[in-house]
Amino acid sequence: MWVESPQTLVEMRGIVKRFPGVLANDSASFTLLRGEVHALLGENGAGKTTLMNILYGLYRPDAGQIYVKGRLVQIRSPRDAISLGIGMVHQQFRLIPTHTVAENIIVGSREIGFTLRYDAINEELSKLIKFYGWSIRPDSRVWQLSAGEKQQVELLKALYRKADILILDEPTSVLTPQETTVLFQTLRRMASQGLGVVLISHKLDEVMGVSDRVTVMRRGRTVATKPTKETNPEELAYLMIGRQIGVVEPRKTTLSPHPILETHGLKVLDDKGLLAVKGLSIKLHGGEILGVAGVSGNGQQELMEALVGLRRVEEGKILIGGIDVTNKPPSAFIDAGVAYIPPETLKYTASGMTVAENLILKSYRRSKFSHRFLINWRNVYEEAERLVKTFNIVAPSLKTRAGNLSGGNIQRLVLARELALQDDIKIVIAAYPTKGLDVASTEFIQRKLAETRDRGAGVLLVSEDLEELAMLSDRLIVMYKGGIVGELSRAEFDLETVGLMMTGVKRAEATA
């Protein structure tokens, strides 16, 4: 039923993509028109990037059709995608730092032939750069450029290859606010030139600000496509999160009389040396789950790393059970009973070492597993055997390399390491613990967190998944730009209010 229309650049129909344990795309559909900026909105793990990676030829769909400019196509590789006029800018830039801008742009280009005519290339690039009002030069070395400028190089690469379908995956996550403004101007300009731009994002304000139409994805499905003018942030948040709010499990244990974790005026820098956590004070009691809502990149990562000793505290204090542990080494936090479920579990996995070895990564110093200097492998394997069973870790054997496990199983492995091996954990810092997992794994992990809370530990749950936060948290704080916008008790949970507060709106205004 395809209607020939020069206005439609891309149509994806009924796209299905399955990964082990996860249905990433569940008959998703998507249309991109000429001259529009089309936002693809959804939570982490909703399947936005997967859908666009399929369009760019990085994955093959398990089912579904893709039409590009009216023609049914099979996109087997990025090379196919490029020849169809599709360009993609990934979250991580794929540039060679020691090469110049021009060299980076012609890498892999097919038309250039055997000899390089830099004059012609530079001239064309300069024309494009001038048109978009950028300030990069074709002969600058890439390592000298800022993140925003590197992104411009990536865009330039696509434009130079005459792409008219441009996909940007979370482009603002690496940019400063000023750079973001410049980027959005560029995107508008591209649209006015007749290009179709796909903007993958989970930030409502961005979507409202720059897009013409928006498609919302949730759990692999495309739930709605609307012109941006005819919708509002509340409706989009509602669509993004879904109607159903999970069953509320109230707290069973009583709160510990004194907070087990306190921070006073905590200030922490991010990797670039900018202030990411701006004087944060929180109190966490034993027996509660304190949810931290917020769009990622608002200081949560830096806060968590400070709370487990992996990041320096510039100012302020961290107290555990009333004892000052500010800027102590990570081992001091481990010994104090802090467990950390990190956002990128693979980053903290020794992937070349075995499942059993990874399970004891934090507890190998305990008397159960080592005596003086010798490791007691018999106890290690016995314990590992038990953990693999209770946490349903699917692994060929305990001696399998951890890197060969699937994402969901690595997540379980980390969870087992953090929650079960140290029976005296007092504090759990959990970051997006169910991100990208299927329903069964998600439920399992949520149950484990609640169990830990019921045993008397305090849980700090950082998530973007409001549904999950609403279901698990006994109390909720909302973070925005390194500070706390407001706090809500369980009785006061309201997804719309929280959603608005995540964009920086104060609570009084949000409820008004």
Binding site: L310, P329, P330, I334, S351, L361, R365, I375, T400, N404
Partner: protein
């Protein structure tokens, strides 16, 4: 495109059974013999005679003992490197650490001979300790720079080699020159009780025993102790190590100290087991050969011992070829180089499975 489409698929191996690994290594060593033969033929040399000279070194007891003692400095340095490499510490400085070991061992002998310090019975033990500490500290410096300041270890370890070699040159041309040595740049000859031949009759026996003991220690250290576990985690993923509460500085310092220390003891074997005195350029690159040996053995301490004997044998063979066939030493070095290239090729095949389909 070819008329008949031949598809070559390269896939990452998930698991590598020991047998496959051994088969790949063996096959490629065999292949290196073939390639080497071709090279020898190109040089106008009878390749069969050359190779049979090389092989015969390993068949006669006398030359085999020679191979063992020549291999032991390499072996000890390689055992140290196996620790360092598993910690992801790219120590290219075993050569310099060997020289620092020679320096310390000789220093102890001179203290004894000139000033009567250290009783005879304790002399050899003191030499072992001194060479270990000296080589160890020499390697700890780049280790400290890496752990504390994030300086890549490859250049410092490599450059410190030249420092150590020239330092030993300075000593034997200067203050440590034998006063009765007709101004040759040589130290005094070591007394019998400072020489490895003095024990068990032949230096090879003691050398081999030392290497086997050290191999056992390294094996236990890496697989059964917490510090070995920490070193392996650091080698795998520094972020994971920090997250696991591992003290990076402490682990790196201990690891680099042990690695350098073992090379230092290798240096002791050179002066005490092979030469019997200190002279300039006493190591013809044992510290670099040790890198090859460590990789040939897949960083497995038990395999390092035979692998180092193999390379010791090649050195002996080099001399035999020179004498018997009037070939340059370079011929044997070419042979060594071919073996090394094959090891790298073998690494590729161990990591990836290659299938050809029509």
């Amino acid at each position: 495109m070819l008329g008949t489409a031949v598809k070559i698929r390269v896939e990452r191996r998930l698991e590598l059974p020991r047998r496959t690994s051994a088969a790949i290594s063996g096959l490629l060593i065999l292949l290196s013999f073939v390639v080497a033969s071709a090279v020898f033929e190109l040089l106008g040399v009878n390749s069969v005679r050359t190779l049979s000279t090389i092989v015969s070194v390993f068949l006669s007891p006398t030359s085999l003992l020679q191979a063992v003692i020549r291999g032991m400095p390499i072996g000890l340095a390689a055992l140290g490197l196996s620790l360092a490499f598993r910690m992801n510490f790219w120590n290219i400085g075993a050569e310099g650490q060997l020289y620092m070991g020679m320096f310390a061992a000789t220093g102890v002998v001179l203290l004894h001979a000139y000033y009567g310090a250290i009783p005879e019975q304790l002399l050899f033990t003191t030499m072992i300790l001194a060479s270990f500490v000296s080589g160890g500290l020499y390697c700890t410096l780049p280790g400290y720079l890496k752990a504390k300041l994030g300086v890549n270890e490859i250049l410092p370890t490599l450059m410190l080699n030249y420092v150590a070699i020239l330092f030993v040159d300075f000593l034997v041309y200067g203050p440590w020159r034998d006063p009765k040595g007709f101004s040759f740049p040589l130290s005094i000859t070591f007394p019998d009780y400072a020489r490895m031949d003095g024990f068990l009759g032949n230096a090879s026996y003691l050398g081999l025993t030392m290497a086997l003991v050290v191999a056992a220690i390294v094996y236990v250290l890496m697989n059964w102790t917490t510090i070995g576990f920490e070193m392996r985690v650091v080698g795998q993923n520094v972020d994971a190590a920090k997250y696991g509460g591992i003290n990076l500085l402490r682990t790196t310092l201990i690891g680099s100290f042990l690695a350098g220390g073992l090379a230092g003891v290798g240096g002791l074997i050179i002066v005490s087991g092979l030469i019997g005195r200190l002279r300039p350029r006493a190591s013809p690159g044992y510290g670099y050969t040790a890198i090859i040996v460590a990789f040939l053995a897949g960083l497995n301490p038990w395999l390092i011992v035979p692998a180092s004997i193999f390379f010791g044998g090649l050195l002996v063979a080099g001399e035999a070829i020179q004498a018997a066939l009037n070939l340059p030493v370079a011929a044997v070095q070419v042979f060594q180089a071919i073996i090394f290239i094959m090891i790298i090729v073998a690494e590729f095949f161990k990591r990836y499975r290659v299938t050809i389909r029509r």
